[in-house]
């Protein structure tokens, strides 16, 4: 079966690159799963969402928190371009939890966005929120 060549990049660095069986990203209209052979698509990702990559070497799925950005799919190449991204494994769960609780207490539009990002960070780290 064909594989997807995936690149997860942020402006500052390449975060993850490799082959995968499936990529799941969240657009404004909902989550989208991308399998090999998917039609070319350009999608805008939700600010503060989780991208999941299922590597084809059978390893654990890679989860990353992304804030803003988009992804493009073309001829089995998936590029996820995030303005900011963090791999689940690099997230300090305790700090993320504290951050989440702190912004949850606040109100307003800014705080809502911050809360969404904090929640995505926790989800990417494999926590239940």
């Amino acid at each position: 079966m064909a594989k997807l060549r995936v690149e997860l990049v942020s402006p500052e660095r390449e975060i993850w690159a490799g082959e995968a069986d499936m990529v799941v990203a969240k657009t404004i209209e909902g989550e989208m799963g991308i399998l090999p052979g998917h039609a070319p698509v350009l999608g805008v990702m939700v600010d503060g969402s989780v991208v999941r990559i299922h590597p084809s070497d059978g390893g654990d799925p890679v989860a990353a928190m992304v804030s803003g950005g988009f992804f493009s799919v073309a001829s089995n190449e998936v590029s996820v371009l995030a303005e900011y991204a963090e791999l689940g494994g690099e997230i300090d769960v305790r700090a993320a939890r504290e951050e989440y609780e702190r912004v949850s207490a606040q109100e307003g539009e800014e705080a809502a966005a911050a809360q969404r990002r904090a929640r995505a960070r926790l989800r990417a780290a494999g926590q239940e929120v």
Binding site: V9, E14, I28, G69, F70, S72, Y84
Partner: protein
């Protein structure tokens, strides 16, 4: 010790300490170039992908219109972003950028446009302040090690200015003057028009796509317009980020070269002064000997005469 000798020795000592400083600066700069180049490289994948996506979008939706793509000939103001350094000691780095910017602004004035400077880096700001010229905005404190947030802030400000209607002082063009890092030895000050967009892609595309000609027909999620809205500001920020990184690498490279020639020069001066000092010391010794000999002779003559 003779007066001249003392003066020369003092100059040697001070030149030596200067050489130490410039040598240290040179070493610091060379260690930072490597890191700066590394960051330029790391920003590559993102820049490549976003350029690709934009060109896919624009080439497939020829009819697509977006304020950021539109030429606005009615606007008489043009923003010019100068990327200079925060610190000096970098040879002609800032002078070149400023000269290039001055050239650009003269050109814009000739076209009947009013240039509006935006400045990155303390040296550029200082140059404008000293001449009491006006500028729209300044950003300082990160020229040698920019962070993406800096590019974001600058990008947002510029895009916002571009989005304003002409009557409110919106700008019709955005130009950036920065120093491109060509190689370790060559860095050139460059003018780049950021907005309205001219998409440069062809050479960035991988070989197989170029030979295929057209890019695949994309679907857009949720819509082409929404994707374009999200993509364009990101693209601008990514361009600015790329230029900031290039400028930082160039700054280090030029500082290293300037400091190397300063160190070399100091060493030459030290060598010359050492010669002068040796000569002075020799002259002093010669004089002392001839005084002693002369004195002894005189003494011998007087004592011979008295006997």
């Amino acid at each position: 010790m003779g007066a001249q000798l003392r003066v020369v020795r003092r100059r040697i000592a001070s030149t030596k300490s200067m050489a130490k400083i410039t040598r240290a600066q040179e070493l610091i700069a060379s260690s930072r170039i490597v890191k700066a180049q590394q960051r330029v490289r790391e920003s590559g994948p993102y820049a490549r992908q976003i350029t690709r996506a934009i060109s896919a979008l624009v080439s497939h939706n020829v009819g697509v219109s977006h304020p950021l793509l539109a030429e606005r000939p009615e606007s008489k103001r043009a923003a010019v972003l100068l990327i200079t350094s925060d610190r000096g000691f970098a040879g002609g780095y800032n002078a070149n950028v400023i000269r290039e910017a001055e050239g650009l602004m003269t050109l814009l004035r000739e076209q009947g446009k009013e240039p509006v400077p935006y400045i990155v880096g303390r040296k550029g700001v200082g140059w404008y302040r000293f001449r009491e010229r006006e500028y729209a905005e300044e950003w300082t404190g990160f020229s040698d090690n920019p962070r993406f947030e800096n590019a974001e802030t600058i990008g947002r400000t510029l895009v916002e200015e571009f989005g304003k209607p002409v009557e409110e002082g919106g700008v019709g063009e955005i130009h950036v003057v920065y120093t491109e890092f060509v190689s370790m030895l060559t860095q050139t000050a460059q003018v780049h028009r950021l907005l309205p967009l001219e998409i440069e892609e062809a050479e960035d595309l991988p070989e197989e796509q170029r030979s295929h000609g057209a890019l695949p027909a994309y679907d857009f999620e949720p819509s082409a317009q929404a994707v374009l809205d999200a993509l364009l500001p990101n693209y601008i920020e990514s361009r600015i980020w790329h230029m900031l990184l290039q400028a930082a690498a160039s700054e280090h490279a030029q500082r290293r070269r300037a400091m190397k020639s300063a160190t070399d020069n100091a060493n030459d001066v030290i060598q010359n002064l050492t010669r002068v000092a040796n000569q002075a010391r020799q002259a002093e010794i010669t004089q002392e000997i001839s005084e002693i000999v002369g004195g002894a002779n005189a003494l011998a003559e007087t004592s011979a005469g008295s006997e």
